[in-house]
């Protein structure tokens, strides 16, 4: 060390030194200056090689080292409020100059923010599928990323404007990929269950489904009959509307037609727009794979019957659909049907089957607009509520995950003491409540203790589902419910009970 100057100025004490044999690059020295300058009591710092430019800077700060400085020397110039601060600052410079920078590690993981970035980073060029469940208003950009990357996409999100759905599906068609959704809750692709789907065996039947719970019912019944599915391609509940025109249904049919595993196709939907149904029928007739329909309508109100027809067509036996008969009971005369559903298509099926027997059934998703319940879910008379309807899932999880609203409705029904037969669906499988009986049984038991309330349950699932069909059926039956694997059979059982009461 040479030429150290210590002195006292009007503003404090200062240290100016020139060191030989010390080199650090300018960036490192700027960092040291900044760090030391930020210390309490330090009023000015310059740690820099003693180049003419830096000596000029030092002079401007009143910290010139005097004559004899050379550019190979390191200038350390500090002004501080008192001796302690100055000594600490000089020590800090020494420490900083000898500190070893931490070794360069691997790059920090940079999060991938979009479907586009995620697909771009895929290590494989094998089959890939994008799954989008972001809020509906943002789902379009993510889905468009997948289409641009030549990948199919399942859009679980709801709240996507119909014109965006049409634009996405047109772009997907042009790109030779499929848009499943929006609001597509159920799909199975090569055995991989996406969203709400059941553990069903693999086999020759391909489903194209504009209805999630409808596809679950159909695939579970096929499983019971020993017939597996190749794929379940959801297309979104609006696909068969006039506005969308079946764009994804047509593409999904073409995909299954080209799939070597698929021998028959079953089209599952709520009632389609007639013109769209016609164009889909025409397109299906052109395919080499036979296409059967399980589209609900007043004329074809029964998914179970559609499955049975398919089985017969395949030369397979129609099995006895599993059930657990409830206790022998007679409902109170004048009882009303109270269908509290989590699956929209299952609710539709129940209403279509009940209407010819009971007359009008009111609902939040009514068969005809004049039967709309409005917001009064506890209205008297025959009522079927779809708790999975968008209006009832704003800000909360789907009733297959969060049973709260439906349990409240059951308790309210018991408290009102309106004579009733309670009809429920319980949907098992991936994505659903891991043990629906666990929360349902205490509520049902309490309701039945409060008065006469026959309970009929459509239990949609398979033995292979994480919840296990029999395990759930036994628990529900033990609580006094009659349990059916077929929603149509469950509905008819409820209607029989009501008829017996008349």
């Amino acid at each position: 060390m040479t030429g150290t100057v210590r002195g006292v100025t009007a503003t404090g004490v200062r240290h100016v030194s020139l060191r030989s044999g010390v080199y650090a690059d300018s960036v490192r020295l700027m960092q040291v200056s900044r760090d030391v300058g930020a210390r309490a009591g330090v009023t000015a710092v310059l740690v820099a090689m003693a180049t003419p430019l830096n000596l000029e800077l030092a002079a401007g700060m009143g910290l010139a080292p005097g004559d004899g400085a050379s550019p190979e020397q390191l200038l350390v110039a500090i002004e501080a409020a008192d001796d302690d601060a100055l000594a600490a600052a000089v020590a800090a410079v020494d420490a900083a100059l000898t500190a070893r920078e931490r070794a360069a590690g691997p790059a920090q993981a940079v999060p991938l923010r979009t479907i586009g970035a995620g697909l771009d980073a895929l290590p494989t060029d094998g089959p890939a599928l994008a799954v989008v469940s972001v809020p509906g208003q943002y789902a379009v950009a993510e889905a468009a990323d997948a289409i641009a990357a030549g990948r199919s996409v399942l859009v679980f999100s709801d709240g996507v404007p119909v014109e965006h759905e049409v634009a996405l599906k047109q772009a997907a068609h042009d790109a030779g990929v499929l848009v499943m959704g929006p609001d597509c809750g159920t799909a199975i692709v090569s055995g991989l269950a996406l969203g709400f789907a059941n553990a069903v065996r693999r086999g020759p039947v391909g489903l194209v489904a504009a209805s999630g719970t409808g596809a679950q019912q159909v695939s579970c019944l096929l499983d019971v009959a020993g017939v597996g599915v190749s794929h379940v391609l959801g297309v979104g509940g609006r696909d068969l509307s006039e506005a969308v025109g079946g764009l994804a249904t047509l593409d999904a049919l073409a995909l299954l037609d080209a799939d070597p595993v698929t021998e028959r196709v079953l089209l599952v939907s709520k009632p389609p727009a007639p013109a769209v149904a016609q164009s889909v029928r025409a397109a299906a007739a052109e395919l080499s794979v036979p296409v059967h329909s399980a589209a609900l309508s007043p004329e074809a109100p029964d998914l179970t019957a559609a499955v049975e027809a398919l089985l017969v067509g395949m030369g397979r036996d129609v099995p006895v659909w599993p059930s657990r008969p409830g206790p022998a009971e007679t409902p109170v005369p004048g009882a009303a049907l109270k269908g509290l559903y989590s699956g929209g298509t299952l609710a539709d099926e129940a209403m279509l089957l009940a209407a010819p027997v009971l007359g009008d059934v009111r609902s939040n998703t009514p068969l005809r607009p004049e039967l709309d319940l409005g917001t009064d879910l506890s209205a008297p008379g025959h009522v079927v509520v779809d708790f999975g309807d968008d209006a009832l899932t704003v800000g909360r999880a789907h009733p297959m995950i969060d049973p709260t609203l439906r349990l409240e409705a059951i308790s309210n029904l018991a408290a009102r003491r309106e004579p009733a037969v309670l009809l429920l669906d319980v949907v098992l499988g991936y994505g659903a409540d891991p043990d629906p009986a666990h929360s349902l049984v205490p509520t049902l038991s309490a309701a039945r203790r409060a008065g006469t309330l026959p309970v009929v349950i459509a239990l949609i699932g398979t033995e292979a589902d994480p919840q296990g069909w029999s395990r759930q059926a036994d628990a529900l039956a033990a609580a006094g419910a009659a349990v059916f694997a077929s929603n149509a059979q469950a509905t008819r059982h409820a209607l029989d009970l009501l008829g017996a009461a008349r």
Partner: protein, 465 residues
């Protein structure tokens, strides 16, 4: 690859319960870390996402950027090549008048008036500028770019770069070196003396040298090579400047001029590690100008700052500026300058990031990241992040540490909105007070407002297209 050919790999955005169920089935699931967009009306985002022109338009814009070359064909006074009327000064960034100009821009304008002899004192220069007697116009409106204040006056010499494919030209003045320089807002006698020497000696020698070269210097190739040598082409130009010196030296030595002038020129170039910057910038400008006017493209063609406002332009919206208040860089300071001394972001040099180098290729120049007290992993992460903002990777500009991956090129306004990440720019810092000069260097980002406005305008254009 058909969707149905086997169990698909899943890339998921949104609720993670579905991914958990897929993993339980043994599926290969990749969750992206999705966030709501950083800005933008959801309807605008959807309109652009669904704009059927977008993919092809962006492809066209990218192809033009990639195809553009850059050869050093001449060195000429600005008055001859930029069509500068007398008493006109060019400046960096979007349009601005004297009243709104920041300290360093005012300082540079004052210096230029003194240099041109339009005023003999600082007071007089301030008066003619304040009176509007000197016309001000952005460099970008003249196929030109200028670092920091970017002030270019008729008597200054400019590099003339040409794209050999299209014949298009771009221009930039000559770099003055470091410390007290006009582009940082200094206008002392030392600054003016250097400018006069550049006018009288450097410019003519370089012109003669460049014109004598049998093969024009391939500046794009130098830029590509720099990235292999630890430069990122914006804040670190050491290798590029040395390579330029190597390429120009034989021709400079043969110029018919006093040997003392030749020596001074070589010393000047060799002593300025940012000498190359003024060649790199018009190279990037040539490439980005090639992408101008592609309807439906959401690519950014200009990012530039005048010290008060940051402005951007996009391929799909032509010459329209989208501006917001410039941020102040964060970094390290010379001497005892501190954050309070720094002026907001200034200069056309963000054309380097627009082209996909500079801050975008931080991974190629780990030394730069220490300007903000960061680490080498920070540098790598910055470049990795920029890949998610850009439309393409430029195979000509490779980043060795990333396995020679091409630089992230072509900022996508839609991607900026969706990720919420802003472009990363490396920059010098000028003193806030006119006449101060450089106070430091660091990192800065554009204000979000520029991209918000651009997004809305692109969506509006898409709706009416």
């Amino acid at each position: 690859m058909s969707l149905l050919s086997g169990p698909p790999t899943v890339v998921a955005a949104g609720v993670d319960v579905f991914s958990a169920a897929l993993r339980d089935q043994g599926a290969d699931v990749h969750d992206v870390d999705w966030r709501p967009p950083g800005f933008g009306d959801p309807a605008d985002l959807a309109t652009l996402a669904l704009d059927r022109r977008r993919a092809a338009a962006n492809r066209t814009a990218v192809e033009r950027v990639m195809a553009a070359g850059s050869r050093l064909v001449d060195v000429r006074p600005a008055r001859d090549v930029l069509g500068l009327r007398d008493r006109t000064l060019l400046h960096a960034g979007p349009p601005i008048g004297w009243d709104d100009a920041s300290g360093p821009l005012r300082g540079a304008l004052i210096g230029a008036c003194l240099f041109e002899g339009w005023a003999s004192t600082v007071t007089e220069a301030e008066r003619v500028l304040a009176a509007g007697e000197i016309a001000l116009d952005p460099c970008h409106h003249h196929s030109a770019v200028g670092p920091m204040a970017g002030v270019t006056s008729p008597s200054m010499w400019t590099w003339v770069l040409q794209d050999p494919v299209t014949g298009r030209q771009a221009f930039c003045n000559l770099n003055e070196g470091l410390g007290k320089v006009l582009r940082m807002g200094a206008y002392s006698e030392e600054v003016l003396t250097r400018l006069r020497w550049m006018r009288d000696v450097l410019g003519p020698v370089l012109q003669a040298a460049v014109r004598s070269m049998a093969e024009p210097l391939d500046v794009k190739a130098v830029l590509a090579q720099m990235l292999q040598m630890g430069d990122e082409g914006h804040n670190r130009n050491r290798a590029g400047s040395l390579m330029t010196l190597r390429e120009l030296s034989p021709a400079v030595v043969e110029v018919d001029a006093p040997s003392s002038d030749i020596a001074a020129v070589l010393r000047f170039i060799g002593g300025n590690e940012h000498f190359f910057l003024n060649l790199g910038m018009p190279t990037a400008k040539l490439a980005m100008d090639a992408a101008r006017g592609v309807p439906g493209s959401t690519m950014v063609t200009v990012m530039s700052r005048n010290g008060t406002e940051f402005g951007i332009q996009t391929a799909g919206t032509g010459d329209r500026w989208f501006t917001g208040p410039a941020n102040t860089p964060v970094g390290l300071f010379l001497g005892d300058y501190g954050p309070d001394d720094a002026n907001p972001d200034i200069g056309d040099s963000a054309i380097m990031e627009t082209y996909g180098v500079g801050g975008f290729t931080m991974a190629a120049a780990p030394a730069i990241v220490r300007f903000v007290g960061g680490t080498v992993p920070d540098a790598l992460a910055t470049t990795e992040r920029m890949y998610q903002l850009t439309l393409a990777e430029n195979p000509a500009m490779q980043v060795p540490i990333l396995g020679f991956r091409g630089s992230p090129t072509g900022i996508d306004v839609l991607a900026v909105a969706r990720t919420g990440w802003l472009p990363q720019i490396n920059t010098g810092m000028a003193g806030r007070v006119a006449g101060t000069g450089q106070v430091g260097a660091g990192l800065v980002q554009p204000p979000r407002e520029c991209f918000e406005q651009a997004l809305a305008a692109l969506a509006q254009e898409a709706r009416t297209a």
